[in-house]
Amino acid sequence: MKLPARQPYTGIPRWVSGLAVLAALVVILPLIAIVARVNWANFIPLVTSESALDALGLSLRTSAASTLLCIVLGVPLALVLARGSFPFQRLLRSLVLLPLVLPPVVGGIALLYTFGRQGLLGGALQVLGIQIAFSTTAVVLAQTFVALPFLVVSLEGALRIGGQKYEAVAATLGAPPGVVFRRVTLPLILPGLASGAVLSFARSLGEFGATLTFAGSLQGVTRTLPLEIYLQRETDPDAAVALSLVLVAVAVAVVALAYGRPGGLQRQGPALWGRSGQRPTTPGTAGGTVR
């Protein structure tokens, strides 16, 4: 006699499954709503209008630049936070993570009073003839501000779990610190770095509040795709929806890249960090928050 294939016992109560379905709907329904509302006949012209292409190009360029900046600054920061030992280390870690929970518009105001004309560094920057606020540089800075914690958190977890055993062995084999960093530490944290970078890129791409406050909304200079969508919504809802769908598509691609692919980043993690286990990543918002 053949027994029917059954699921192993899970112990999940029925009402929990019901709430889980509801939770999934909260996320999925709005996405379906957007797809349903798209004006497919005019979709191509809508997303290839001059202002749309300007915004998309600017978004991709600035997000790439801020991701690069996040990597260049975030790797050393994560390394120092995870491995270093200095006073106020815990305080610094908490402060670095602040942009994760801070409303972006507050971040924008903070940046304005740092780099703006009347800001903390404004005078010094003016002497040097540098004007940051309301420029493309400001967009990149705003995006870096909100995206940096994603990278630092991803990496710090990877560094902590990995421990320093490999580094110690490398040193006893005669490798100076620079070589250890390049040939041992960096390759070991690469999966964490990749997922952190993808999340940072996604967060940068979706950045709205801090950008609007600190960089303004100038077509081709500071008006990124989220800003363009917000503007178009007033005058041309069809264009706004079409561009939103573009961002949704990018977000889906990012999530797939970071988590979904079998044998992708998620699978590599445990193998690389040995038996101790889990890959540390932030359960962050991939598409970014619009506030």
């Binding site: 055993k165 490999y166 110690a168 062995v169 490398a170 040193a171 006893t172 084999l173 005669g174 490798a175 100076p176 610190p177 070589v179 250890v180 040939r183 041992v184 390759p187 070991l188 690469l190 193998a271 690389l272 040995g274």
Partner: protein
Amino acid sequence: MSFSFQAAVAQRDFDVSLALGPTETVAVMGPNGAGKSTLLSTIAGLVWPDSGRAELNGRTLFHLESGIHQWTPPHRRGTALLAQEPLLFPHLTAVDNVAFGPRSAGVPPRKAKEHALQWLAEVEAEVLAGRRPAGLSGGQAQRVAVARALAADPGLLLLDEPMAALDIHSAPLLRRLLKRVLAGRQAIIVTHDVLDALMLADRVVVLENGRIAEDGPTRDVLERPRSPFAAGLAGLNFVTGTLTASGLRTAGGQGIAPNLEIAGHLEGPGESGPAGAAGLPGAAVFPPSAVSVFLADAHGSPRNSFSVEVTELEPHGDQVRVRGGGLAADITPAASAELGLAPGMRAHFVIKSAAVSIYAT
């Protein structure tokens, strides 16, 4: 071409002084927390001692005293460390792992690889050259790790329980390999296994509580242990006390009554003779097979009879090992059944004096 070391680490209550000859391999043994890992880490430069001085082949590893502050970072010490886990770099193939040391020393990639392949051949692992560590068994990975450590051409090789994580089939293979490659090298091997000390080391150092408790040629330490730990390694009973003209008067403690006499061979220091050593602290050492167990105190010489409480019974080969009063006795299962021994019972351990060695400690 030699190694000298003296260091204190107050936080870990560690104060050890050690020297190695040019081609000497020393086994460091001791209970957990005795400071064995601290010793290796301090030599490798992963732990800073509070004070001390170490030199390897004429190079100062550290010299820390009031007013003097010399410190060589780990990568310039030439003290490769082989740990319990192989710790092969997971992103590099076996051959690239082995080439890591030469590459770090500035050898061009192609030459470093040739060198690495030679070392892999030396540890009989050349077929594994292209494999990643994830695809290696524990024994294979540890062999590659040995090749990696040797390829770095260390002046002193540090081995931290290299066999501990291996299964019973891989350990003998690696032990044979180490015996071959350690010949003619300076090495310090931390181990729990007396077999490692016998096969690999010229000398045994026993660490206890951050101090050296015993130091001598492997054979001497195992034949004439001077510490309870070394006696345990050699599988011998060890009773301390004071030497008398004909034997040893027990010091008491550890479940044995004080002021009992144990008769045996007196092995005194050469010049003064056994009799001249009377009054000195000494030890009586005898194998568990020299101990018989009786329920009543009616047998043998009363001098060599101890009343003890039986604490444990365990199988030991084809014998039963009876523990009590800090001593071990090996008896046949039939004898054990006949006596009806059980933990908590009182029994008499009677020691054959012909099998007892007594010497000053």
